[in-house]
Amino acid sequence: MKAIRVALAGNANVGKSTIFNSLTGLNQHMGNWPGKTVEKAEGKLHFRGKEIEIVDLPGVYSLKPYSEEEKVAREYMCSHKPDVVINVVDASVLERNLFLTLSLVKMGRPVVVALNMVDVAERKGAKVDAKKLSRLLGAPVVPVIATRGIGLEQLMEKAVSEAKRGGECGKPREESTEKAYAEAERIAKECITLTKTRPPLEERLDSVLMHKYAGYLFLALAAALMFFSVFSMGDRLSGILSEEFSYAKEWLSAAMGEGFLSFILVEGVFEGIAAAAIIALPYIIPFAIALAILEDSGYLARMAFLMDTFMRKIGLHGKAFIPMILGYGCTVPACLSCRIMETQRERFLSAFLVTLVPCAARSVIIMGLVAAFVGIEWAAFLYLLNILIIAILGRIAFRALPGEPMGLIMEMPSYKMPSPINIAKTAWLKANSFIWIALPIIIASTVLIKLVEFFGLIGPISDVLSPITVGWLGLPAIAGITLIFGILRKELALVMLAALLGTENFSSALTQVQMLTFAIVSMYYVPCTATIAALAREFGWKKSLAITVFEVMFAILLAGVLARILEAFFF
């Protein structure tokens, strides 16, 4: 039997991915800001014995091919001809959403409207009559609350029965925007009953959080809070794990005895796991949690609003601030999310800046090395310096690639209480991907480096690099090899360093300036191979390699200069 093909379409930030995840059990990125889903995602589910293929399309406002996402959605509709389109609609912004609904219905393929966020609409004082709406649209309407999974069963039932109906080959009809909106307005007016509400909390929150002075104060406070809570949570976790692992190691090496195999197992495999668990994981998880809260609450879009003036100075606009904040988590998805920018020039500029933002793996080095062993104020200094450097390089890049950005046009999402389940899930996914993707690389690398060490090859390799590492940067010779490993994954540089030094207590082997220098190099030379690949995919190999070469040279130059300044004036 042929599978039923269902497409999820709708405006940005109406809950398509939430519905997709609940239906398929997959984990599409969720968050409360418009433009998260940049590429269509596909999944499968079984419903009442039927196989259903479901596609989550990026959010669009119309089917006219004005933007990248709209092209993706339009092409999918035209060439794949889904059996049924589930049009997800935000009930609290019904009129605007209906504009797309009308063009979908007119296309001729069966449409089922998922009237989402009926709870939010009611809170805002609008009650939508689903039956009336269905009659006026000529398409079934199912009220749902996607975040709580309410109504999804009925939604699928309707979708399956509509799919059977079949429809003509749909082609988006060209119609005047004004005319279509007039119709949307008329339908919305007929279906909505306005109820009285007291001035919502949202208004009062925004008057503080978006205030022209207080807003920035709050932004700085939020950043500082995030920084300190991540550090204190990570530091405590790291301390506990460090103790546990050192007992385990003692026990293990006693049990294994001497010999090559035991050396590889204990010093390679076990040490790799231990270093990853002690150094990396404790900081990566809190970072993921902090970012999930930012994304979920709706504050991220407010940050973009506040930063618009600043971002315009580097030839971009407020929306580009969103990928940069995401960059504090992982550079790869942050680069992809640069697609929310309107032109190729803006996308490239923002992706370049995103690669300079210290991702969670680089923060592992800043937190685990600098904050833990030099001082938290020095870690804060590195983050602030980073913002300054991004501003300066952004300004220079803007000069090199001049042009007028289109200007900020962004929908402001409603505030939402971050869902603890969502956040726990994000943290769990992050831990999971760390264990299954990062950990094998870390273990393999530790084993490899221990083999290199065992055969006495560390010296020769280090010697080749020593003019840069020792001569210019003033680092111990073994640091060179760890920095090379760092290009696989940034935290690996520190994990390798621990493995080669034979301790996680870095202050016993490195001076404070050396630790700062090591962190600075790691912060700025290309994020990692995954980022290089992502950049190549988005902008081509030439641009990707250009960024790579530039950042390697910039990192070495900057760290060497700063090492001399720090040595001369501060330590």
């Binding site: 406002y61 912004v93 009129e95 925007t177 978006m210 879009a301 609003f305 618009d308 962004m410």
Partner: protein, 201 residues
């Protein structure tokens, strides 16, 4: 007053412009201003003199009569009004003067009245750029100008002419603003907001 030719009106406007700056008009200055030869200026001045707008004799002083002052002032007013209006409509700054020069001769007194009401920025039916509106103010969208990409995006997000728009938040002078339209809230950069003309209510 439609009897005056466009060329005559140009001369009267130029004369008004010069005397508004408190200077005495000369043939040389007029010829530079209107980009015509001194000989043509001189000939035109004689025509204007015969119509009673100026007192002029070859190589002599140019004196503007009361009648000339009135006519010139009227055209200059229309010119300035048009510049302001066209600016609101999103016409580029460097084009404003020239476009106004062309249009000013075709504006009747009635049209002038209507334009003046539109650009007054006060009272019923006043037009205002969105970027100049304050939080809490609202009105109807009259026109969305600017680049095609931005205009298309705004239209599909529901900012069609005639739609009610309310300002929710503003920020610094060059910063963005938040507006509500069709019950959705949008953040708009200042450059975008400048291109939206609103009839304030």
């Amino acid at each position: 007053m439609g009897s005056l030719s466009a060329n005559t009106e140009e001369y009267l406007e130029a004369l008004a412009r010069i005397s508004a700056q408190g200077r005495k008009p000369t043939v040389k200055e007029l010829s530079a201003m209107l980009k015509v030869s001194p000989a043509s200026v001189s000939e035109m001045l004689r025509k204007l003199a015969s119509s009673g707008f100026v007192e002029y004799e070859r190589y002599g002083k140019i004196i503007i009569t009361e009648k000339g002052k009135k006519e010139g002032g009227r055209i200059l007013r229309k010119h300035r009004l048009l510049e302001k209006f066209l600016g609101m409509m999103g016409v580029r700054k460097e084009r404003l003067h020239e476009e106004a020069c062309i249009l000013e001769h075709a504006v009747s007194d009635e049209v002038e009245e209507a334009l003046r009401a539109a650009v007054s920025e006060k009272g019923e039916g006043a037009l205002k750029r969105l970027s100049l509106m304050r939080p809490g103010e609202s009105g109807k969208i009259v026109l969305v100008s600017g680049g095609k990409a931005a205009r298309d995006r705004l239209m599909e997000m529901g900012l069609t002419p005639g739609t009610k728009i309310t300002v929710r938040h503003t920020s610094t002078r060059h910063g963005p603003m938040e507006i509500c339209v069709r019950s959705s809230c949008l953040a708009l950069g200042r450059g975008i907001a400048e291109k939206i003309l609103v009839e304030v209510s």
